[in-house]
Amino acid sequence: MTTTGTDTHRGSPTCLPIRSDMDLMWIRQEVRRLATEAQFSLVQQTKLVTAASELARNTLVHGGGGHMEATVLNEGVHTAVRLVFADSGPGIADVDQAMSDGYTSGGGLGLGLGGARRLVHDFRLDSEPGRGTTITVVMWHGGVPPTRQAI
């Protein structure tokens, strides 16, 4: 028996490099395109693009560059965009500290990670010192489904 109603269908992911501040512009453009494709409202689009900009800059500045993988997900009537930012930089020793507002190791405002988390529905940070950092965020359209399988 198939259960199409609860399966998560994934579009093919797009992968963009994060090597320079020019790449950040491409990332913002691509995320805007996907958010529009997922029929997000203008506010949601702006929130997701802003979060992507913060996270991509984090990958660039603190991770020494990396890449972003973006996927549009469909779960029943719910649509989502999932973004994965990965770097193989020094990693984050104290995740809680890095997530807190005002904490910065790079001369910014220290709002990047904590701020980005407030802009999206799901946020996951995996990091190990010396092994790099992977941050996964998901933004849902039409409300967060009861069973979140996307992350």
Partner: protein, 139 residues
């Protein structure tokens, strides 16, 4: 819809500098703008700087910081900075991000910004300081 802007020109209207940011700005060009504005004021004193961001679709913490620093730097050179025309979507996102830029003066559009500069060349109080306090609205 997406317009990369290489270089932001700084225009002068009498003693007011007018900067219109169009579309998406690369980090290094934002930093260059910051330098350009201060350079203009230093070369030829201005009483006000109006930054029109009505075409800007995304302001992240980096661009937010650049705006705050332009205002702070211009303040040191005795020029008032007003950020004009922020879109509702951008305002909502910045507040959610935790960046309320309380030290910045704002206006609905360039016209009201110019009027503000004419009518109140120096605001009574800059209670939050020049650098701007970054309020963190935590959930």
């Amino acid at each position: 819809m997406w317009l990369p802007q290489a270089h932001v020109p700084v225009l002068r209207l009498d003693d007011v500098l007018l900067v219109a940011i169009q579309g998406d700005l690369q980090d290094k060009n934002a930093e260059r703008l910051q330098y350009d504005v201060l350079r203009h004021i230093a070369d030829n004193p201005a009483t006000g700087v109006v930054i029109d961001i009505s075409s800007v679709e995304v302001v992240d913490s980096f661009l937010g910081r650049v705006l705050a620093e332009i205002a702070a730097g211009a303040g040191l050179l005795a020029a008032q900075t007003i950020v004009a025309g922020m879109r509702p979507t951008v305002a909502i996102t910045l507040v959610e991000l935790g960046l309320t830029l309380t030290g910045l003066r704002t206006a609905l559009d360039v016209q009201s910004a110019l009027r503000m500069l004419r009518e109140h060349p120096a605001p009574a109080a800059r209670e939050h300081g020049e650098r701007g306090a970054y309020d963190n609205d935590r959930d």
